[in-house]
């Protein structure tokens, strides 16, 4: 008999599986069509046809081989043009951009390229679930900083300063934020930059939701004076072009860091999927209008859901980014996990307990509004019924 427990990596064994597994097992058992899921964080749109068509066309032409490690040159050039056009960011396609398998790979590359064993990585929470485990796999130490609802889940300079130690290597900046919908405006970033300038701390700015802000344009940490040299920008096609399944992301940063990241990418991945890269070229060239029309639709739904939650007298700050609402459910007296489990079992609506996104998320639930108005409307009706019964 093999003793796998003894054989397996301690580091991997110590990773916790996602805390909401049980919860999705319930969802899976329900009859399809019976439950409304506001749980999955992905666009409900299908990728615009002209982008899909470009992928199909590349297959017809027989473009089925590996690309260069960093990705197709034409795609990297388009990414550089796009970043300049949309966000005023300047990166050179030759040595400052890698095309990755989704934003997730880019995060992994950045952490692995920078973190030495014992280095600390500051991670604001609640946030997307991967930063801590990726840090742990690189033998780094995640240092979680709880952001506060009264600050609209922004990271403040005081919170950052309090978390910094001589071992701090990296600050993860996950804005616009999943799961809270919080954003960082220029002044908020300036305050953080004041703390960081003159230190050796690098910033990993996960800007995958950069195109989904409402009422103001996204500002990147790399837009600020003296910050580009200490910032790694992660972005991708999943959220802005509804391309989650294509697994297309990219990372930009200072050439000395990017060249080290490229080595990891080279050995672990080779190159991002070729078909997806051709589709991505089309997205960057002709997709600005798609972004805008989807963003408008999300904004309609955002207001619609916020209005509904307010009518039910649930406390919810107005999220200005991504496609999530993060209402506080403390007044129900339930923990966020109890709330979500009962809401799913009794009313068949799936939302995610805030605690799944790290400490500070407890007492909140994440509701994704990248869903049809009919779904949102019905989910709100059921929520009303549920709250009345509690």
């Amino acid at each position: 008999m093999m003793d796998y427990e003894r054989l397996l990596s301690d580091n991997v064994k110590s990773l916790k599986p996602s805390g909401i597994r049980k919860f999705f097992d319930i969802l899976e058992e329900m009859k399809s069509g019976e439950a409304i899921s506001l749980g999955i964080g992905e666009p409900d749109f299908v990728t615009p046809w002209h982008i899909r068509d470009a992928g199909i066309y590349s297959l017809e032409k027989g473009y089925t081989k590996y690309t260069g490690n960093a990705g197709l040159m034409r795609l990297r050039q388009e990414i550089a043009l796009y970043l300049k056009r949309r966000f005023g960011l300047e990166y050179h396609y030759k040595d400052q951009i890698i095309v990755t398998v989704g934003g997730s790979e880019a995060i992994d590359l950045a952490v692995r390229a920078l973190v030495n064993p014992g280095d600390e990585v500051i991670i604001p929470v609640p946030s997307f679930v991967c930063y801590g485990p990726v840090t742990a796999l690189a033998c780094g130490k995640p240092v979680y900083v709880e952001t506060k609802v009264e600050n609209e889940f922004r990271l403040t300079a005081e919170e950052l300063r309090a978390a910094i130690t001589p071992r701090t290597k990296l600050l993860v900046l996950p804005y616009p934020n999943n799961p809270t919908g919080g954003i960082m405006e220029r002044a908020d970033l300036e305050a953080l930059a004041d703390v960081l300038r003159g230190t050796d701390i690098m910033v990993l700015s996960d800007e995958i939701y950069a195109e989904l802000t409402y009422g103001q344009h996204h500002v990147s940490m790399a837009n600020l004076p003296d910050m580009k040299e200490r910032t790694i920008v992660v972005n991708g096609f999943s959220k802005s072009y509804a391309m989650t399944g294509w697994r297309m992301g990219y990372v930009c940063g200072p050439a000395p860091v990017i060249s080290q990241m490229l080595k990891i990418h080279q050995y672990a991945i080779m190159s991002a999927p070729t078909t997806s890269q051709y589709a991505a070229i089309e997205a960057m060239r002709e997709g600005d209008g798609d972004i805008e029309s989807m963003r408008r639709d999300y904004d309609f739904r955002r207001r619609f859901m916020l209005d509904g939650l307010k009518a039910l007298e649930l406390d919810c700050f107005e999220p200005k980014g991504a496609f999530y609402m993060f209402p506080c459910i403390r007044k129900t007296g339930l923990s966020s996990e109890e709330f979500c489990e009962r809401f799913l079992l009794e009313e068949k609506v799936a939302v995610i307990p805030g605690g799944a996104f790290g400490s500070g998320g407890e007492g909140f639930v994440r509701m994704c509004y990248a869903s049809s108005i009919d779904n949102i409307s019905e989910a709100l009706n059921r929520l009303e019924r549920f709250l009345k019964r509690l």
């Binding site: 909401i20 999955i40 992905e42 009422g215 009919d374």
Partner: protein, 162 residues
């Protein structure tokens, strides 16, 4: 940021939205939305509220056809008078004045092929000013009013958490 045309765009996609819902989506007042909708109805901007039905999935049998109509326009009245005489028929769904090889595109729905034929030879062709017709039966509908008839099947395995 959003204007009243957005009210129309939303209603065009889903006629069942209430003024309250639209107001929430556009950050407007429900009264403002309601007043605008009423005015649009009165002004003929909103013509009617309808439902798109795939009759092929029901027991109802019907035939749709596109009839190209050539016309000798009448002095002083152009194509409008004859178009009006055609669109009054209940079985006519749409009538468009076209550029190109024919003048009017007439879409009709009837119970049987025979009914379509009868419409063409008994009603359309004898009209004064109609010089020729060409009837094309619609074999299959793929997309109408921005809505595809074939709904893509649900992907089998989906990620649970992102």
């Amino acid at each position: 940021m959003y204007d009243t045309n957005d009210i129309l765009r939303l209603l065009e996609k889903d006629g069942r939205l209430t003024p309250q819902q639209i107001a929430a989506m556009l950050a407007m007042e429900p009264e403002q939305v309601k007043a605008f909708i009423e005015k649009s109805e009165a002004d003929g901007v909103i013509l009617k509220y309808t439902t798109l039905i795939d009759w092929d999935k029901t027991t109802e049998e019907s035939v749709k056809a596109l009839i190209e109509v050539k016309i000798a326009p009448q002095r002083g009245e152009g194509f409008d008078r004859i178009a009006q005489r055609i669109y009054q028929y209940e079985e006519v769904d749409s009538v468009y004045l076209m550029s190109g090889n024919f003048d009017l595109a007439v879409y009709i729905t009837a119970k049987t092929i025979k009914d379509v034929a009868e419409f063409v030879y008994a009603r359309l062709a004898p009209l004064e000013g109609v010089t020729a017709t060409a009837t094309h039966f619609i074999l299959k509908k793929y997309k109408e009013m921005g809505c595809a008839y074939v709904v893509p099947s649900e992907q089998e395995e989906r990620i649970n958490f992102a």
